[in-house]
């Protein structure tokens, strides 16, 4: 029997989210304000992933884009009141910029880039590891528009002592003792022409849940650096020593390929940095049925940290032989790249399809996972079981 509290809570939920509760493959779909129903992992802080069905378009819809927060106090910012402060020990001067200043005084640039949480697919790790149990949808591809971070940093004046640039957003913890979510980048990455302070996503203002009114966009690097609701940028001569750099988002040193964040590295651990080569079949859910002798096509996306994808290979014999999929045109080197492959439906029965991508740097998806305590960088060759009947 329901208690009065449960009854109230149930009614409230139904009223606040009219017809927006749904099920997808046993997952609970819920809609945050301004979003379509997504797979709810946690309510507070809000962590919602994009269902496979919404990952089929080249650019992930803003209202379907995944939501990831560490801290639960997330103010809705008035874009007219919002200010971005830029300064720090290694800056010549302090700036305070309104959104209008940012838009008026710096060149606008757009970059198509995949934003992927370092912990995407954590829930698929074996053995399992604690943390938000994401499956495939803690990622999305978007066209980000804003200004180059380096143009803003140069306006503040970067002196020779600069080592890292430190970023803070408006989201904070509920308790003062909880470390604020503050991240840093090595100065060279901050000065990379592709690193943006973005205020638009797919031609529209950033959705609240994706960092309005402005967020950092670090193409090729995992989502943890893409600080949302950006409010403070500091150019510093020392390695930033906050919890979210020194303790969280770290992997065993030398365990993964990718650029090294030297000022933050120790003999044991190093920050997670670049996105690993990876791919996802989006055309078919696990266990999908295909009609015998009816033409069918497998499709999905492949991506890496920005060298670009040179091949996607498909196997239907448990990896004994591989054949190339057809690659779609590139959307940009930091974006995912489409692939398709015709499925042979002439034989009745089960077929397991493996897909693996190869980057221009020669990196290939592995057939064994590299264990790490926090379950980052899951890029195992994907396997989808289909049934032809």
């Amino acid at each position: 029997m329901l208690t009065r509290r449960e009854l109230l809570a149930g009614s409230l939920t139904a009223l606040l989210l009219p017809a927006e509760r749904a099920q997808s493959g046993g997952e609970e779909l819920l809609a945050l304000q301004g979003k379509r129903p997504l797979i709810k992992r946690t309510f507070r802080p809000p962590n919602y992933e994009t269902p496979l069905v919404d990952l089929r378009r080249p650019f992930t819809a803003n209202d379907a884009f995944f939501v990831r927060y560490h801290l639960a106090d997330i103010p809705v910012l008035d874009p007219r009141q919002w200010r971005l402060r830029v300064g720090g020990t290694s800056a010549a001067r302090a700036l305070e910029l309104s959104l209008a200043d940012l838009k008026a005084h710096y060149e606008h640039v757009s970059v198509a880039a995949l934003n992927q949480c370092a912990g995407n697919r954590r829930g698929l790790f074996t053995p399992r590891v604690p943390g938000v149990q994401w499956t495939h949808g803690a990622m999305g591809n978007a066209l980000w528009t804003g200004v180059r971070l380096r143009d803003v940093l140069r306006a503040a004046g970067i002196d020779g002592s600069a080592l890292e640039v430190v970023f803070d957003g408006a989201d904070t913890a509920l308790l003062p003792a909880t470390p604020d979510f503050i991240k840093s980048l090595p100065i060279d990455r901050a000065l990379d022409e592709n690193t943006l302070i973005a205020f638009e996503m797919n031609g529209r203002p950033l959705p609240h849940w994706n960092g309005a009114p402005a967020r950092l966009v670090v193409p090729g690097w995992t989502g943890t650096y893409w600080v949302k609701h950006l409010t403070d940028i500091r150019i510093e001569p020392k390695a930033f020593d906050g919890f979210w750099m020194k303790t969280a988002y770290r992997i065993p040193t030398g365990a993964f390929p990718g650029v090294r964040f030297m000022s933050q590295e120790t003999a044991e651990t190093t920050p997670v940095t670049e996105i690993q080569v990876n791919s996802l079949i989006t055309s078919h859910e696990q266990g999908a049925h295909l009609a015998l002798n009816r033409p069918a096509e497998l499709s999905g996306w492949a991506w890496d940290s920005g060298t670009g994808i040179s091949a996607v290979e498909i196997s239907t014999d448990a990896g004994q032989s591989w054949s190339p999929a057809t690659l779609e045109r590139e959307l940009g080197r930091f974006a995912w790249r489409g692939f398709r492959w015709r499925i042979d439906t002439r034989t009745r029965g089960p077929v397991t399809v493996l897909a693996r991508s190869v980057s221009r740097s020669g990196a290939r998806q592995p057939d064994r996972l590299t264990p790490n305590p926090s379950g980052y960088h899951h890029n195992l060759v994907q396997s989808v079981a289909l049934e032809i009947a």
């Binding site: 409230l12 009219p18 909880t178």
Partner: protein, 102 residues
């Protein structure tokens, strides 16, 4: 306004209005943890900072040792106001009811 809204009892409208700014969080009130000794302390302590769905979400990965580590992280790293006595209550409760193996 649809028919459902018009039929809304006054008390619900009040609750609804007061929760409007955090409408996105609506729904976590519906989470109920296993009814057993330690539930009240666990709910009161954990829900200060996060919704309770973190507990069942991680249960298949957890055991007493990993819960102990996790609770200490909440206290030592994140500043959760949990005293030693309550820490033990929460640990016993989670180890028994939200673990793959006790």
């Amino acid at each position: 306004m649809n028919r459902m809204d018009r039929a809304l009892p006054a008390v619900l409208i009040l609750v609804l209005a007061s929760s409007a700014p955090i409408a996105a969080l609506a729904g976590e009130e519906a989470i109920t943890l296993t009814d057993a000794p330690g539930r009240e302390v666990t709910v009161a302590s954990c829900s200060i900072c996060h919704s309770l769905d973190y507990l069942p979400m991680n249960a298949p990965v957890m055991n007493r040792a990993t819960w102990e580590k996790s609770i200490h992280k909440m206290v030592d790293r994140f500043g959760a106001p949990i005293n030693a006595e309550n820490l033990q209550v929460i640990l016993d409760y989670l180890a028994q009811h939200y673990s793959a193996t006790p």
